[in-house]
């Protein structure tokens, strides 16, 4: 896939009203970047390599072979089992996020191929309630794992999440067990599961399915951890070490297989899947 195709749809849609957003400032190096350049560079700062967050549709286009994607998410809709209300009722929050993202909850994906390997790809949407995992995210992941197992597909999950969704309380917590246990359906069939951690991946998402993949890749500089840095700072009453909880730190501490820049993410993923998926693993007869 030509890289400049990645954002074609958005550019077409966005039309002429984008004028005030033509320039962006990189939060890492403070360079002023022309937005089209940033998009053409996969939302990676051309100056310093800082990885901006990537939208879920762009993520799917980045990773799957052209023309292979069929969306499977979207039918599972959120409820408000606790009739939760803080400064705003949960229902209204959900409606706002649905409006903003066009999706019922914080996950998007479906079937497709990665350099020919049949795959089920799910991407968490940080734009929807901080990518938090409630019942819908948990259900889509469990369904995804089950479908991948049933259809002989690799499972790939791109994590981006502040953690579990507080507004579903204990039910959110249970999604950690549900998603984790659903992964075992892939084990039984010897199908691979690759986890891709992006900025940020914390809390109950890290502490369940995201940390349990056969191969764990992460984008550079992503915040990854269990507790958030603010909570930890409060706990220890000290400043946190430089680079703490960033991808490179986690690699050093043995938690990741590789930190992969976005431009190599697709080819690295494809290599892993070709080696692990039964269709690619034995080519002797081919």
């Amino acid at each position: 896939m030509a890289l400049d195709r990645l954002f074609r749809r958005r550019r077409t849609r966005g039309g002429g009203r984008d004028v005030p957003e033509l320039w962006l400032k990189c939060p890492a190096c403070e360079a002023q970047i022309y937005k089209k350049d940033l998009e053409a560079n996969l939302m990676v700062c051309p100056e310093c390599g800082h990885h901006f967050r990537l939208g879920v549709e762009e993520r799917v286009r980045l990773l799957l072979d052209e023309g292979t994607f069929e969306v499977t998410t979207g039918r599972v809709q959120p409820e408000d089992p606790l009739r939760f209300e803080d400064t705003e009722p949960y229902r209204e929050r959900l409606a706002r996020y649905r409006e903003k993202t066009g999706r019922p909850d914080a996950i998007y994906g479906g079937t497709g191929a990665v350099e020919g390997v049949p795959t089920l790809l799910l991407a968490m949407d940080y734009a929807f309630a901080g990518g938090s995992m409630g019942s819908v995210v948990g259900e889509e992941i469990a369904r995804g794992a089950e479908q991948a197992a049933a259809e002989g597909r690799a499972l790939v999950i791109v994590a981006a999440s502040g953690g579990a969704r507080m507004q579903e309380a204990a039910l959110s917590l249970m999604q950690m067990a549900k998603t984790t246990m659903a992964l075992d359906r892939l084990w039984e069939r010897r199908l691979p599961y690759v986890s891709i951690l992006t900025d940020p991946t914390t809390g109950g998402v890290t502490a369940s399915f995201a940390a349990l993949a056969d191969v764990i890749l992460a984008e550079p500089g992503a915040l990854i951890g269990f507790a958030g840095p603010r909570v930890i700072k409060q706990t220890i009453r000290q400043d946190l070490p430089e680079g703490f909880q960033r991808s490179e730190f986690l690699l050093q501490h043995g938690m990741l297989d590789q930190v992969v820049p976005r431009e190599r993410l697709r080819s690295t993923l494809a290599q892993v899947l070709r080696l692990l998926h039964p269709e690619g693993a034995k080519t002797r007869g081919a």
Partner: protein, 316 residues
């Protein structure tokens, strides 16, 4: 040390005690008066505990004197022998683990452990495990599978420790691994929430075929205080957060998150720990017996089905 809503009860109890002492000392008959006060006390206790707010239950769940893992292994089980260490980095005193006998058969037990004094609490890190604690728990799961012994976990933690050292050693990774490992147990697994069931740190040893909860325990994705700090931007709103989180035993029974509530004696488990432990022993015996007919694969599937159901969604 007493909770605010316990004060009237405690005062009444003190008065009854005084009257008794006075009657004995002076050798006068005050049995009528004492009887009336006793009735009043029982009424007051019943009323208070029938109408506890969620926040009051959270306070009860944290009350010193409630049965801890070490109390239970000594009183509910027999022949307990503590096994230490994760065989990789350290022994975590926030998690107690070992072998014991329950109703004649060997079981493996793992539980969070808080201290009863400040010094003990510092040693036990207030029941907040480091990764080593969960690795110790996983080692116990291996042991249970190796010998075919039932696995009992006792949950009482504000949460896994949120510190630099814990992050460095993969707190998220080890919680995920522990959830997975427990899900795969080929033996009956019963989890009991004793007091606080704080988030992933609790769930890590909470993947039972049956999940029991003490009547005044709580279990949720976040503590009321932290939830209030984030959603209300004011930790003082913990009471409101506790209400919103629906984190009590009865709420969780309704949501299907727990299977059974272990009743606590009047006044709460911290006031009558022996009676609370006896109720727990009975519930545990029944649940383990009910699981006995299931084979290894059935137990794994049963656990999968149990957690697969969890959540509230609508399919369009």
């Amino acid at each position: 040390m007493a909770l605010e809503f316990e004060q009237p009860i405690l005062e009444l109890e003190a008065r009854i005690r005084e009257l008794r002492e006075y009657a004995e000392e002076k050798d006068v008959d005050l049995s009528d008066e004492i009887g009336l006060l006793q009735q009043k006390l029982e009424r007051l206790q019943k009323e208070t505990f029938a109408n506890l707010s969620r926040w009051q239950r959270v306070q009860l769940a944290r009350a010193p004197g409630r049965p801890t893992t070490l109390d239970i292994v000594e009183n509910v089980f027999e022949d307990f022998i503590e096994l230490h260490g994760d065989r990789a980095f350290a022994d975590d005193p926030a998690v107690v683990a070992g072998l014991a006998r329950f109703r004649g058969s060997s079981v493996v037990v793992v539980g969070h452990q808080k201290g009863k004094t400040t010094k003990e609490n510092i040693h036990r890190n207030f029941g907040m495990p480091h990764p080593e604690g969960y690795r110790k728990a996983m080692r116990m799961m291996d042991l249970a599978d190796r010998f075919g012994f039932p696995f009992v976990s006792l949950i009482d933690t504000p949460g896994a420790y949120p510190g630099v050292s814990a992050e460095e050693r993969g707190q998220a990774w080890v919680i995920a691994q522990s959830i997975q490992r427990m899900g795969r147990l080929k033996v009956p697994a019963v989890a009991v929430i004793l007091g606080e069931g704080g988030s992933g740190g609790a769930l890590a040893i909470g993947v039972g075929n049956r999940v029991l909860i003490m009547e005044n325990a709580w279990y949720s994705v976040i503590s009321p205080e932290s939830c209030a700090a984030i959603l209300w931007r004011d930790a003082a709103q913990a009471e409101a957060a506790a209400e919103a989180l629906k984190l009590t035993a009865h709420d969780l029974r309704e949501l299907g998150v727990v299977d059974r509530i272990v009743p606590e004696p009047g006044g709460g488990a911290h006031r009558h720990p022996e009676r609370a432990m006896q109720a727990l022993a009975e519930a545990l015996a029944e649940e383990l017996e009910a699981l006995e007919p299931l084979g290894p694969e059935e137990l794994v599937e049963d656990r999968y089905r149990r957690f697969r159901r969890m959540g509230a969604v609508r399919i369009e």
